[in-house]
């Protein structure tokens, strides 16, 4: 178990594997708290709210891009990598935030959007200014749009080609994402050096990790899908080597929306990324609950390879993007659409732009079950801001802005997010009768003992008390009742049995726990002892969507 209180920060500092035990909170500074009444969240506002995150049990914060940007892709179109967008404050504000977070035992992970820049970045402006410019070769140019034919288009709703015509230099430039996001040329060593200088800038300041955006697409080669190429791995290994040498204990997180067997390569031999998102697990957790069948989860774990001991999966339920359905079959995608996005306005690209609570029809039991899965499955959980209170979404805001609305702090004007005029907010607050800020907000839930927020705090606290959740192995029990998902987590002398009823009705299940004969299961939330495991199948009954976490002890 971890020691509690102020010693926690010091303890974590010493542990280079801190990311394995972390509970990460994902937020955009714009959405969280506006300190200067301009309608946009900022770092001073975020700093004011750090106590809330500490109380929640968060140990790391992943910040979405906060750099100067035209903001045509929610900040993933960066125009200056070493500064702070003026709407969010200053570098000084960021430093103050960083120190405040560290003092509370929270680490900070920031974005490293290295695949592309904004077309407003000075590098690109120079590169397009003439074919002879020294920065010209920092991007990928062509006189024809027929190179790399057959490479998939990611934003199928908006883009028709991966090439865009530059009327300035009369050439095509390569972009895997929006056409205003030209890809950097990683075959040019100068680009790698420039990006390392940017990383050093933030590392020197004290950031604890980077989320590398769009990792698979760094390198292009003719006749390939231009994804996951060996040269890309070589670049990652180079960054990792430099990081470990100069900044041990810092972490790299890969965004590679791919099958686990492909993502596995990004861990290398423990010499590439420390962590990577497990994208395919996420839709399958939703699928399993709707299907009332553990099959999707079991199957994806069967397809998940072992990773080096120093590496870790990052798992999540929702994030700032659409609930991506890239890593599912057509049949599964259709099912997810039919069950979770019946209104077509809820769909975007190959995904669903909704938040957790609305997808669960605001059913507290299902929200808790999914949160329980998130916190008990192997990997580091990432909580998307607002999901801990069951915030809703607004699918009519366009793009994915419906899941990026202001944090709902209280029932006052603008949900306590800002004192600006409502018209000035970067986004309208959610105000409908079910999910509106007057019904769903932090203040109200803090006052209520059995609110979702208070429950989530208890859940995270429990998780944080046991290393087994972050570091333990997983072994699935396979009871005949397929509506029940049960698994054993084990790490050193810690052993936990998790039993989840995925269905909307009460279930009985017989668990084969003979290998654990003699152990006494202790229900972890209430610390109640259950009958000792013996030679016969262990019978449990579970209410709808109920789950148990049992600590297994030899007593």
């Amino acid at each position: 178990m971890f020691p509690n209180g102020g010693a926690q920060a010091l303890e974590l500092q010493k542990d280079n594997l801190w990311y394995k035990d972390a509970v990460i909170y994902q937020l955009h500074v714009r959405t969280f708290c506006d300190s200067n009444a301009d309608g946009v969240g900022d770092f001073p506002g975020l700093t004011q709210r750090l106590d809330y995150l500490q109380d929640l049990g968060i140990t790391a914060i992943w910040l979405l891009p906060f750099f100067p940007s035209p903001l045509r892709d929610d900040g993933y179109d960066i125009a200056d990598y070493t500064s702070v967008h003026s709407s969010y404050g200053t570098l000084g504000d960021f430093k103050a935030f960083l120190e405040a977070a560290h003092s509370r035992g929270m680490r900070i992970i920031i974005e490293m959007v290295l695949n592309h820049t904004s077309d407003q970045h000075p590098w690109f402006k120079e590169a397009r200014s003439s074919r002879d410019n020294p920065k010209r070769d920092w991007y990928v140019w062509s006189q024809t749009d027929l190179r790399y034919e057959g490479v998939g288009i990611i934003f199928v709703d908006t883009e028709t080609s991966n090439w865009a015509w530059d009327p300035v230099s009369k050439s095509y430039y390569w972009h895997r994402f929006f056409s205003h996001q030209p890809d950097l040329n990683f075959d040019n060593p100068e680009v790698i050096e420039a990006l390392w200088e940017i990383m050093k800038f933030w590392l020197e300041m004290g950031v604890d990790g980077f989320r590398f955006d769009a990792v698979p697409y760094l390198i292009e080669r003719e006749g390939t899908p231009c994804e996951n190429l060996p040269e890309t791995h070589a670049i990652i290994r180079e960054f990792r080597k430099r990081l470990d040498a100069a900044y041990p204990g810092r972490m790299l997180l890969a965004e590679a929306n791919n099958w686990p067997v492909n993502v596995r390569a990004y861990f290398g031999n423990g010499d590439e990324f420390h962590t990577a998102f497990h994208f395919p697990l996420m839709p399958r957790m939703f699928m399993a609950v709707r299907l009332e069948d553990r099959k999707p989860i079991i199957e994806i774990f069967q397809q998940t390879p072992e990773i080096p001991p120093t590496c870790q999966w990052c798992i999540f339920l929702r994030n700032h993007d659409e609930l991506t359905l890239e890593m599912v079959t057509d049949i599964e995608r259709d099912y997810m659409y039919d069950e979770y996005a019946t209104d077509k306005t809820m769909r975007i690209n190959r995904g669903i732009r909704r938040r957790l609570a609305p997808m669960m029809d605001n059913d507290r039991r299902r929200i808790e079950l999914l949160s329980g899965l998130l916190m008990s499955m192997p990997g580091t959980p990432i909580v998307y801001y607002g999901d801990e209170i069951g915030m809703g979404d607004n699918v009519y805001l366009g793009d994915r802005n419906g899941v990026r609305t202001p944090m709902q702090w209280d029932g006052d004007a603008n949900a306590g997010f800002s004192t600006a005029d409502p018209e000035r907010l970067y986004s309208p607050v959610i105000s409908n009768a079910v999910y509106g800020y007057q019904a769903i907000n932090v203040a109200a839930q803090t006052r209520t003992d059995h609110s979702l927020l208070r429950w989530t705090i208890a859940l995270i606290k429990l998780r944080n008390s046991f290393q087994v959740f972050g570091r333990g192995s997983i072994a699935f029990l396979k009871p005949a009742n397929h509506r029940v998902l049960a698994y054993i987590r084990e790490f050193e002398d810690e052993m936990v049995l998790v039993v989840n009823n995925l269905s909307s009705s009460a279930q009985a299940v017989e668990l084969d726990v003979r290998p654990f004969k003699g152990f006494v299961p202790i229900e972890m939330f209430g610390r109640n002892l259950f009958p000792r495991f013996g030679d016969v199948p262990y019978l449990l009954t579970l209410g709808p969507y109920q789950f148990y976490w049992f600590q297994l002890r030899r007593i």
Partner: protein
């Protein structure tokens, strides 16, 4: 008193504790398929795979389970042991199905009768609230996912309550169905289901519940062939029936030689029993509700036949001669006289005309009703007449096309309908005599 109650409970308990435990784990399902395990495990495994593939390919979103009904075979071994309740997930990636396909096994100490097997499935369907069910007898390796889907889809997607199969047959195969079971049941129950007696059919959850609730399960007729009774129950309750084309009829399980007398007991005897138990249904219906047919039906083909007409004729003549006294007690005197005249006719001129065939059958049915003689013997006595009809049929249609034979079949159906008042009269008249 406690012993009596326990005894009564034990008698009423259809499902073994182990099966209940398995069903408890399955939970509610959309689709439930029962198979009676043959005496070889590979066939059961093959059938389970075909059913699972059906679920994975055609019912990807539905909750589905397979109930394997089996018993210890003659050698004392468990016929279905290798196909025990192994959910598909244990085989790794299981195709397109989103959910686990569950298998449960209902073990009997001895091989269960078809009636027991069906009752087990109906009980399971009731407990699991299944929407669409099918009963299969996997005697062949030709059971395919498509066949299973063809049976289930009309129930699940089109809300039919009973789905009978329809097969491609040689023009001289299935003559019992074509000359007796189909036209007679059509005239009586006003339903155009051609294959009332089959080893594979599908039904809805509500029909399952309706059948399960009836106190018929100890009846010998139900134990042997429950499917026609199930269809007639659907008719009686004005539920929706249809038929679905499955392609060629699967060959019977190896080693299961067909005994015509046994077949008559199980089918014709069963039909007579259904008439007895569903008298109000057939007495009140008129016309024909031509059942909707799914799939492209090509019922008849013209491959060479291995039937020996002369042998059949001889058996007809010998049978009528041997059973003369019994036949004369069953048949109307005029009917009996006409049959004996056919026996005496020269080769090639024998014709069992439709009106005589129908009249004779109605005599048998009414005699069955009035228990003129032992009912089992009565049904057996019909076999020689059937042979006579078969010989006549072979002679008449040796060169007929499929269309011509279909026309003749329609004509026979019409004759059954035309003479239905005769049946009613005999049925009631005798009753009056008795009373």
């Amino acid at each position: 008193m406690e012993t009596e109650i326990a005894g009564a409970l034990a008698e009423d308990t259809i499902l073994a504790d182990d099966l209940i435990r398995q069903l408890m784990s399955v939970g509610e399902v959309d689709l439930l398929v029962g198979i009676t395990s043959p005496s070889n495990a590979p066939a059961t495994s093959h059938a389970c795979r075909a059913i699972e593939q059906c679920f994975q390919q055609r019912f990807t979103r539905q909750r589905a389970a397979i109930v394997i009904v089996c018993g210890q075979d003659a050698a004392g071994g468990d016929a279905s042991a290798p196909a025990s309740a192994e959910p598909a997930e244990r085989d790794g990636h299981s195709g397109g199905a989103l959910r686990t396909v569950q298998r449960v096994t209902a073990d009997f100490p001895v091989p269960p009768s078809p009636g027991q097997a069906l009752r087990t499935l109906l009980t399971a369907a009731d407990l699991l609230r299944a929407k669409a069910c099918a009963m299969l007898a996997p005697g062949s390796s030709e059971l395919t996912p498509e066949r299973v889907a063809s049976l289930l889809q009309p129930v699940f997607h089109d809300k039919f309550d009973f789905v009978a199969p329809l097969y491609t047959r040689h023009k001289f195969q299935g003559l019992l169905a074509r000359t007796l079971l189909y036209p007679m049941s059509r005239a009586l129950f006003c339903s155009g289901i051609r294959e009332l007696y089959s080893d594979e059919w599908a039904f809805s959850g509500r029909l399952a519940a309706a059948c399960l609730a009836q106190d018929v399960w100890h009846e010998e007729s139900i134990q042997a062939r429950p499917e026609a009774w199930m269809a007639i129950t659907a008719i009686a309750r004005e539920l929706r029936l249809c038929q679905t084309f499955l392609g060629p009829k699967l060959p019977p399980p190896a080693g299961s030689a067909t005994d015509i007398v046994e077949v008559f007991r199980e089918t014709v005897g069963n039909l007579f029993w259904c008439m007895e138990s569903r008298r109000s249904t057939w007495a009140n219906c008129q016309g024909t509700d031509l059942a909707q047919t799914f799939g492209q039906a090509q019922e008849l083909t013209s491959e060479p036949s291995d039937l020996d007409p002369q042998r059949i004729r001889e058996m007809f003549r010998n049978g009528v001669a041997e059973l003369g006294s019994i036949l004369s007690s069953i048949l109307d005197p005029e009917t009996y006289a006409q049959i004996t005249s056919i026996v005496e006719c020269t080769e090639g001129s024998c014709r069992f005309r439709p009106e005589l065939w129908v009249r004779a059958l109605y005599d048998f049915a009414s005699s069955y009703h009035h228990s003129v003689i032992n009912r089992d013997h009565l049904v057996q006595a019909l076999v020689p007449l059937y042979r006579g009809m078969t010989y006549s049929y072979l002679m008449e249609h040796s060169q007929s096309t499929a269309e011509e034979m279909e026309a003749a079949n329609e004509s026979l159906c019409a004759e059954f309908a035309r003479q239905k008042p005769y049946l009613t009269e005999k049925w009631n008249a005798k009753l009056e005599v008795k009373s």
